[in-house]
């Protein structure tokens, strides 16, 4: 018999601020300083300028150019490590938002981002667009195109800031931000109010409205209501704007948000999380031999030989349609097994966060691989860059053999550990979510079973892909026209 059960009301997930990173001597002062973020942004701005400059003027051989090495080896590897170990550090230090002040001065104030676009569908489209361009144009093999991509990010952020009043680029558009938001849900740091009672009596709500000197939260998060790292760029403007010094950046159990926070039942959020996990597989699949067999099959069986169309089909099928179909089917199965009269999207929203650890494991195994085998390659690339400018401080011959950051024999075991670790945590989160919704263990098991099978399938496919030999194709001698 099906019964209309009431889902237990979830309280806001707020970690207890026992330790506040913003009060750690020196570090806390730097972070809370009005220009604290700018210092870190300038570091990444210099890196971005280097990427653009070298991409346009340097050698068009991807392993010998800092544009491709920094963007596709270091940025990707370090961003996933930062998310795992600390938090959304790369949004914190994002240089693309630096022209914001200028853009705001030029902006026609008062226009808000269109209501129908205030969701994650644009981000999902943006993520797919970036990965489609990456696979189709072999962006990793082209310093020149990589430089243009970096510039496009600056232009995109600037334009949206100039047109709209809030920060729609970060919250609704940026594909990198969307990736970071999803995985920061498993990060060990979160913004919270030191004392919620102070917020209740606060009149100005400067953390969201801004003060006379510091802007409020660009993504419109209100500190006492923050129960998730989703949409938090860790800019710390809230901490700087708060007149009561009541904002804390506090450690938490990294995965606790995934079963404790109350997600609104939104398909866009569900698809962002599940889709990015599947995208991790599709992206890794693009680097192993079966992808070429698939392309051959598409050409022979369907007559689709255009590479742009082939990659679009594989991406849309693997990272959008398949996860969408599976999520809806699994939500329906979960609903039937549990006997709940609940909307599918509500069940999906309850269990989708459990895909974050699995996704983190897959991306860590992939991007960590590139960082592990190529982390030191920036040394000869920098050496060569200096030589190109007549600077021979470190000799006249770059040591191109410098590459591996970790011994080769460690890499596959670490990849397997990353996938299995993500898998184990996903199962744990599924279990906790199920038990939270169903106090009776048997009911909880029935409801979570379809989701667990989906996670098992993801882990098995991931392990299969990472066990295949890699094969990297790219635009040979390509890049600049």
């Amino acid at each position: 018999m099906t019964t209309l059960e009431k889902v237990p009301q979830r309280s806001l997930y707020r970690p207890t601020p026992n330790l506040d990173v913003l009060r750690v001597p020196l570090l806390g002062r730097v972070l809370r300083w009005r220009w604290g973020r700018l210092v870190f942004q300038l570091v990444l701005l210099l890196a971005a300028i280097w990427v653009i400059y070298d991409g346009w003027t340097g050698p068009q051989l991807a392993p010998a150019n800092s544009a491709t090495v920094l963007a596709w080896v270091h940025y990707r590897g370090l961003v996933i490590l930062a998310l795992l170990l600390v938090g959304n550090l790369f949004c914190f230090a994002c240089p693309f938002t630096l022209p914001r002040t200028l853009a705001r001065k030029l902006s026609v104030h008062g226009r808000r981002f269109p209501r129908f676009l205030r969701n994650k569908w644009v981000s999902i489209a943006g993520v797919l667009l970036i990965f489609w361009l990456y696979e189709w144009l072999d962006l990793w093999a082209s310093p020149w195109l990589t430089a243009w991509l970096a510039l496009a990010y600056f232009v995109g952020a600037f334009a949206l800031e100039a047109i709209f009043t809030e920060s729609p680029f970060c919250k609704y558009v940026c594909p990198l931000g969307a990736f970071n938001f999803v995985h920061s849900m498993a990060s060990p740091l979160q913004i919270t109010a030191r004392d919620a009672a102070i917020c209740h009596t606060c009149v100005g709500k400067e953390c969201i409205n801004g003060s006379s000197t510091v802007p409020g939260c660009g993504t419109e998060l209100f500190v006492p209501q923050i129960d998730s790292n989703m949409d938090c760029t860790l800019c710390l403007d809230c901490a700087r704007a708060c007149p009561f010094d009541n904002v804390a950046l506090t450690p938490r159990r990294p995965w606790s948000e995934l079963y404790q926070s109350g997600w609104r039942p939104r398909w866009d959020l569900v698809m962002l999380v599940v889709g990015i996990a599947f995208l991790g597989l599709v992206n890794a699949f693009g680097m192993v031999p079966p992808v070429y067999a698939l392309q051959t099959w598409l050409a022979s069986a369907w007559g689709i030989s255009n590479v742009a169309l082939q990659t679009l089909l594989v991406l849309v099928a693997g990272a959008l349609l398949l996860p969408a179909l599976l999520t809806v089917t699994v939500a329906e199965l979960s609903r039937r097994l549990s006997g709940r009269l609940e909307q599918r999207r509500a069940i999906a929203a309850a269990y989708a966060p459990a895909f974050v650890p699995m996704s983190l494991g897959i991306w860590l195994a992939h991007y960590g691989f590139h960082l592990a085998i190529g982390g030191l390659s920036i040394i000869p690339v920098t050496h060569s860059f200096l030589l190109d400018h007549g600077i021979a401080w470190f000799g006249s011959q770059p040591n191109w053999e410098l590459s591996f950051l970790l011994p080769n024999g460690w890499i596959l075991p670490l990849q397997v550990a990353a996938v299995l670790g993500g898998f184990g945590l996903s199962l744990y989160v599924l279990t906790r979510s199920a038990l939270r919704r169903n106090p009776i263990p048997v009911s909880a098991l029935r409801e979570m079973l379809p989701w667990a099978l989906m996670v098992v399938a993801l882990a098995m496919v991931a392990l299969s892909i990472f066990n295949l030999p890699m094969e990297m194709r790219g635009t040979i001698l390509g890049g600049a026209p």
Partner: protein, 149 residues
């Protein structure tokens, strides 16, 4: 208010001047850039023979034949080969091509991974000029056999 406006205007001017100076500086730096891989002997013909003829993951032998415009062999050059994958961050394959008595330069290399490689031939000719050439090579996986590419 007036003083504030003047201060603001001065800061804005200073920002514009700084940006302009940085732009000029960057342009200047860009103009002075010289690619260290610059071919100074475009008339020299470099023919490459890669064995096995269908490159596969594993050891490979690469022979280079240098000839001038008259077709005569170019001897006494010091040649190096560097194989890069198209993806950044991959360890390159490096080898020195040694001159044999018959005038061919021969090197042994190891293709570590299947995929697209860029083989860069770089060397010094006996007259001191630098020779640089690049070749695109697709390496098959060990299990690929005679897979049609």
């Amino acid at each position: 208010m007036g003083m504030q406006r003047i201060g603001h205007s001065m800061r804005a001017s200073a920002l514009r001047v700084t940006l302009l100076a940085l732009l000029i500086l960057a342009s200047g730096i860009a103009c002075t850039r010289q690619n260290s891989l610059r071919d100074e002997a475009p008339e020299i013909q470099a023919e490459l023979l890669v064995l096995p003829l269908t490159p596969q993951v594993g050891p490979a032998q690469i022979s280079v034949r240098l000839s001038d415009t008259s077709g005569a062999l170019v001897r006494d050059a010091v040649l190096e080969l560097k194989g890069d994958m198209t993806h950044p961050g991959m360890t390159p394959a490096l080898a020195e091509a040694l001159e044999r008595p018959d005038g061919l330069y021969v090197a042994s290399m190891e293709w570590s991974m299947a995929g697209d490689w860029i083989l860069t031939l770089q060397g010094k000719l006996s007259d001191g000029r630098t020779l640089v050439r690049q070749y695109a090579i697709t390496v098959l996986g060990p299990e690929a056999g005679s897979r049609d590419r």
